[in-house]
């Protein structure tokens, strides 16, 4: 099924947001098609939340425009909010109201008739598996429960588009799996368009049709995950995980001396070797000669983590300044929350 033939449901043109000197989002051109799950990925402070806020008309763009389903997000925010459900990062509820009352309130804010509200509350509570806790006060809910109630809350208005900000943050693995399953069903069964912004790559990788990588306010790459991976392979990057016995400094030196190796990094029990071509043969031969027994050798697939890292490094090099080296080395986690 090729989604690109349809007209986009979310469309932005040169969307830019500046806070004083700092550019939070710069010249964003994005098209998201109906029924698609789109992942907006990037480190903290990359401008993901700002983008979602502009799409909802909660924040005014400095320049550029955004449309959802043909409606201008800045000029017609009410019409946009009617068809867009927003699940904010760390969603909150009125603690002294029960889950059901919170949902009822949302329904009333959307101007729905009372009988429809009650019917939909029951359906949605069932759907997110919260029926039993529905009549407890939300002040007693755990984070995972709040998140699930948040999903029900978003669906109260029966939105065409669902925007989720860091939906997987702070949820245990089982809850995460259930949430991912739920999100997938929202797109495949109900045909809703879903935009997820996150910095947690693995979960997003599982369910997204397409992803956009955000670095320092710029969309550095956008497309299907395997497309991005393929374009990276053409650049000739090979990543090898390896470990050997005895595990001493000599082995690291050996790895570094291999031909065309860019970097060698120790991660836990093993080394990660980045090189421009396949070094497996050479590694095998030389470690044997030097008296090392290889205990692990594995070619890493081009997963999202690598893609992400790669693009981030490129962007980091473009922004080369005083701390450019640091940004490159600790790419993903070094520059959080600024």
């Amino acid at each position: 099924m090729d989604v690109t033939e349809k007209s986009p449901i979310i469309h932005t043109e040169g969307l830019t947001k500046k806070y004083g000197e700092k550019t939070a989002v710069s010249d964003l051109n994005l098209d998201i098609y109906p029924g698609e799950i789109f992942g907006l990925l990037g480190p903290n402070g990359a401008g993901k939340t700002t983008t979602t806020l502009m799409l909802l008309g909660l924040s005014e763009p400095t320049s550029g425009k955004a449309w959802i389903d043909g409606r201008d997000c800045t000029r017609e925010p009410i019409a946009v909010k009617r068809i867009v459900g927003y699940l904010p990062d760390n969603v909150g509820f009125y603690g002294d109201m029960t889950g059901r009352e919170n949902l009822r309130f949302t329904g009333r804010l959307n101007g729905l008739p009372d009988d429809l509200i009650e019917k939909r509350i029951d359906e949605l509570l069932e759907k997110v598996g919260m029926t039993e806790a529905a009549d407890q006060k939300t002040g007693t809910y755990s984070r995972g429960m709040r998140q699930r109630l948040g999903v029900a809350d978003v669906l109260m208005k029966d939105p065409k588009v669902v925007i989720m900000d860091e939906p997987t943050l702070g949820i245990d693995p089982e809850g995460m799996r259930a949430l991912m399953e739920l999100i997938r069903r929202l797109a495949s069964e109900d045909g809703r368009t879903i935009l997820i912004s996150s910095h947690q790559l693995y979960q997003i990788q599982q369910i997204c049709d397409r992803v956009g990588l955000f670095v320092e306010g710029q969309l550095v790459a956008c497309g299907k995950i395997d497309e991005l991976a393929r374009s990276m392979q053409q650049e000739g990057v090979s990543i090898l995980e390896t470990a050997a016995f005895p595990d001493d400094a000599g082995f690291e030196a050996l790895l570094k001396s291999l031909g065309n190796v860019d970097s060698v990094e120790r991660t836990g029990d093993f080394y990660v070797v980045r090189s421009r071509n396949d070094v497996k043969r050479e590694l095998l031969r030389r470690s044997l000669n030097s008296g090392y027994t290889l205990s692990l050798i594995r070619q890493r697939e081009n997963d999202l983590d690598e893609i992400y890292r790669r693009y981030f490094e490129e962007a980091g090099e473009e922004h080369e300044d005083g701390d450019g080296k640091r940004a490159k080395r600790f790419g993903i986690f070094g520059r959080s929350g600024q």
Partner: protein, 344 residues
């Protein structure tokens, strides 16, 4: 694949919506209004269920009762010297140790307003409900309107009920029925009280928009309350003393200038405005709120003002209080509209 085609049909169906544009706009506005109503309902329920409201109500009833007790105990002495408008004396007479009801309300009214509003917006922000709330299809000002209207309703109900309480107990105690004019004066007094407390409500909502933490906005509100109630008169006399210094040989003109300057500054304070207005309304013998020289009074017949004349006298005060409320309200509007709403 199947869901996709259904979806496409939906899209085309909605684009060919037969409803005309104005009709659609009207419906949109109606639905947005229902958002305000939903908010109002929720806020009312919140207030009525909150322990805070019960505490405030208990406090108000307690002070009403205490001041009434004081008034009744000193009523017979007061009636001996002046037997007119006995019903109004229930509100204005103070006992030997207990202040009068009007004094109590002037002091405690701000507390009620502040309690109802000091965490209106910032608690939503810290609970993480604000961004969920404003991502619903409602106008952003509906949030402030809903909160203010709910608070104002609570205030109105509270003020009316304590007025009725005092009136009822007073009639039972004294056995003297009020005249129509007395009832009218009491009603105007209650209206003034409601407006006065609403001013403090709007002030506290403004602080709750501006301050990130509920504690900060509460402190600011309480600070202003104490300043207006206790220190404003001091500041006024100091400023007036500096601008129009008085010495032992001051002329009448200088004394008048000094006094007028003091009153002008004092009248900036809602506390003073309210107190002055209420003492005029509740005491028909008050003929003016400004200084009057003996020669201006020559030939005047001593008597009481009618209700209409008294109201005319305090009309500027009412306007002033309403204007102050409007300014606070406008401030919170602007602050809230411009505020970037991010997660907590």
């Amino acid at each position: 694949m199947k869901t996709e085609t259904v979806r496409e049909q939906n899209v085309s169906a909605s684009s060919a919506d037969p409803v005309s544009e104005p009709e659609k706009n009207g419906r949109e506005a109606g639905r947005a209004r229902s958002g305000l109503y939903a908010l109002y309902r929720k806020e009312m329920a919140d207030h009525l269920h909150s322990g805070r409201f019960l505490i405030v109500l208990a406090l108000i009833l307690l002070t009403s009762y205490a001041s009434l007790y004081g008034a009744v105990s000193s009523l017979s002495d007061a009636v001996a010297s002046d037997s007119d408008y006995i019903f109004l004396k229930l509100f204005t007479l103070s006992g030997s140790t207990i202040p009068s009801f009007t004094t109590f309300i002037a002091l405690l009214g701000p507390f009620v307003g502040l309690t109802l509003g000091f965490d209106a917006i910032n608690s939503e922000r810290s609970e993480g409900t604000l961004n969920r709330l404003i991502s619903q299809p409602i106008y952003r000002d509906a949030v402030i309107n809903g909160k203010f209207l709910a608070g104002a309703t609570i205030i109105l109900v509270m003020v009316l009920s304590m007025g009725l309480f005092i009136g009822a107990v007073g009639i039972l105690k004294t056995g003297i029925p009020p005249t129509a004019e007395e009832v009218g004066r009491a009603a105007v007094f209650l209206l003034f009280t409601a407006v006065y407390i609403c001013f403090w409500l709007s002030l506290s909502i403004l602080f709750s928009v501006l301050c990130r933490h509920a504690a900060t906005s509460a402190m600011l509100g309480i600070g202003l309350w104490i300043f207006f109630a206790l220190f404003m008169s001091l500041v006024a006399s100091i400023v007036a003393g500096a601008l129009y210094p008085l010495n032992d040989a001051a002329t009448v003109g200088q004394v008048l200038d000094n006094y007028e300057c003091q009153t002008m500054i004092n009248r900036l304070s809602p506390y003073y405005l309210y107190s002055e207005a209420v003492s005029t309304i509740m005491d028909p013998s008050v003929r003016t709120t400004n200084l009057v020289l003996p020669q201006q009074l020559s030939g005047a017949i001593t008597g009481y003002l009618s209700l209409g004349q008294s109201v005319l006298l305090v009309w500027p005060h009412l306007t002033g209080l309403l204007a102050l409320t409007a300014v606070m309200f406008a401030g919170s509007y602007i602050g809230f509209m411009r505020r970037e709403v991010r997660s907590r």
